[in-house]
């Protein structure tokens, strides 16, 4: 009885800690990446929400923001980068392109949705989504991590 209480509360603490210390991966694909940079930049400053340190290596980061169009040539590389990230890892699919192909869905070399490549936790709509929307997605992801409703 006392065992399980200890384990549960440690688990809660871990989840809380994971949610509040997400390290995103510097990974820009297309136009949405510029809005991602705006979210990092002076006006929106998303460091306020406990997701400060943008990491340049997949091995140091636990949040991948797929910010842009996923082409067929890039998709296997995205998968490889995702595989290189350490657990626990989360994915935000930013923008219409990453979520479903966006305006390029009729094209011959565009993957319609990054969910075919990596498991996605939060989708953000918009072309491009405003930085506020991305910040909302981050908050949503944090809530989900705390509640234990994430894919990995």
């Amino acid at each position: 009885m006392s065992d399980s209480i200890l384990v549960t509360s440690l688990d809660e603490a871990l989840k809380w800690g994971t949610g509040k210390s997400l390290w995103p991966f510097t990974f820009g694909l297309a136009c949405c990446a510029i809005e991602m940079m705006s979210a990092m930049g002076s006006d929106y400053d998303w460091a306020r929400f406990g997701s400060d340190v943008f990491r340049d290596s997949p091995r140091h980061s636990d949040l991948m923001i797929v910010s842009g169009t996923v082409t067929k040539k890039m998709a296997p590389r995205i998968r490889r980068l995702y595989d290189q990230m350490a657990f626990p890892k989360f994915v935000i699919s930013m923008g219409a392109c990453a979520s479903a192909g966006g305006p390029y869905v009729r094209g011959y070399s565009v993957v319609d949705g990054v969910d075919q490549v990596v498991p996605v936790d939060v989708y953000v709509y918009g072309c491009p989504p405003r930085p506020e929307a991305l910040i909302q997605a981050l908050k949503m992801l944090q809530d989900r991590i705390v509640a234990g409703r994430v894919k990995h």
Binding site: F27, A30, R77, R106
Partner: protein
């Protein structure tokens, strides 16, 4: 400051370089590739023997998709080419289409276009400056540049209703008039952006580390510039004074006063100075446009929105424009139907980027990020 090293060199480690060359893969995911550039670099010790860019990781079929829909529909793909300077891209398309269809555009719309394009050039150069700072290991300019850029984006937000991709220029004019509030915002911006720019410039330009990492690095001679078809600020930094706004004026560039900055060194530092000076000139242009802005219609009433998709055209047209990256134009071929037969995009970054092998050869690997970011490639436009 080492500068370029001629081959064959000892590379610091013996004479027989061939068997000591190692191949390093740079990108497609790397914080200083500005997107998804990949470069296969051959290194002898620290020195670059050969660098071959590999592109196509953002090939989004813009040309094919634009050939599949009516003329105004192509705009959404054109917008997303150089996504940091979307209005400049729109201008190239809109001018080509109007030229093809002999559409008359009211004067006010042309002036508005000119002002918006210059503001967007400013925003694009600010992004370049911020990320260039990041690539050189300086985080501070990024925040300064983004603070200033957000001000311009707020103006765009007020006028067009969106922040990054606007779809604002329409065939025959623009989609909405500029509001008095927007004019106030622009006025306020023109007044103090100059001093802010000075501040940003001094962060980089007065830093000994920055200057010594960029002077004499990534040089491109005037012959190479012509041979590769390099245009824009890169061309002007190599001593070729060409600016389409002066040489073959479109819109009302012949009615405003501005200088074309150029340098002769052809290195990264010269490109930095040219771009900064261009931003100053853009402020000047915006100020003059505000003074000269006439009253009147902002679009041609003959071309109401539902009618636009039924416009037909024959013949061909190519209108060169000066985008922040260089000469941008669209070669349109119409076959008499309402769908363009061929939309061929002349993308400046594509040609600029193809000069990488010449630009990097003989420099150290640490100079690579400086040189690549000085090209200011935007991959939406390189890969189209």
């Amino acid at each position: 400051m080492m500068g370029r090293i001629q081959f064959p060199s000892t590379g610091g480690r013996g004479t027989d370089m061939e068997d000591k060359v190692i191949e390093v893969n740079f990108g497609p995911q790397h914080p200083s590739t500005h997107g998804v550039l990949r470069i296969k670099v051959k290194l002898d010790g620290e020195i670059i023997v050969d660098a071959q860019p590999v592109i196509g990781y953002l090939h989004r079929n813009a040309e094919k998709l634009a050939e599949m829909g009516a003329y105004p529909k192509g705009m959404i793909y054109i917008d997303r080419l150089d996504y940091v300077a979307a209005l400049n891209m729109e201008l190239g398309y809109v001018l080509a289409v109007e030229n093809l269809m002999d559409v008359q555009v009211p004067e006010r719309a042309l002036w508005i276009r000119q002002m918006m394009v210059e503001l967007n050039r400013e925003a694009s150069h600010l992004i370049w400056l911020g990320t260039h700072g990041l690539d050189m290991g300086m985080l501070t300019p990024f925040f300064y540049c983004f603070r200033e850029r957000e001000r311009i984006l707020r103006i765009f937000d007020e006028i067009t209703g969106s922040r990054l991709l606007y779809n604002y220029f329409a065939i025959g004019g623009v989609y909405s008039d500029i509001t008095p509030k927007a004019i106030d915002m622009i006025k306020e911006w023109t007044e103090d952006f100059g001093t802010k720019l000075e501040e940003i410039q001094s962060i980089l330009g007065k830093s000994y580390i920055y200057v010594s990492r960029t002077k004499g690095v990534g040089t491109l001679s005037a012959e190479d510039v012509l041979s590769y078809g390099v245009t824009g600020p890169m061309q002007r930094a190599s001593g070729i004074k060409r600016d389409l706004r002066k040489d073959s004026p479109y819109l009302f560039y012949d009615k405003v006063n501005f200088d074309v900055p150029y340098r002769t060194e052809g290195d990264v530092y010269a490109r930095f100075l040219v771009r900064i000076e261009e931003m100053r000139q853009s402020i000047k242009i915006v100020k003059q446009v505000l003074e000269k802005l006439p009253q009147g219609d902002f679009y041609n009433k003959k071309y109401s929105k539902p009618m636009l998709v039924r416009l037909k055209a024959t013949g061909e047209s190519y209108v060169p424009t000066e985008s922040p990256k260089g000469e941008f134009g669209i070669h349109l071929i119409g076959d008499g139907s309402s769908i363009p037969y061929r939309v061929r995009i002349r993308s400046p970054s594509f040609a600029n980027l193809s000069s990488i092998p010449t630009m990097l050869k003989g420099y150290k690997i640490a100079d690579l990020t400086a040189a690549v970011s000085s090209i200011d490639p935007v991959f939406g436009e390189v890969d189209r």
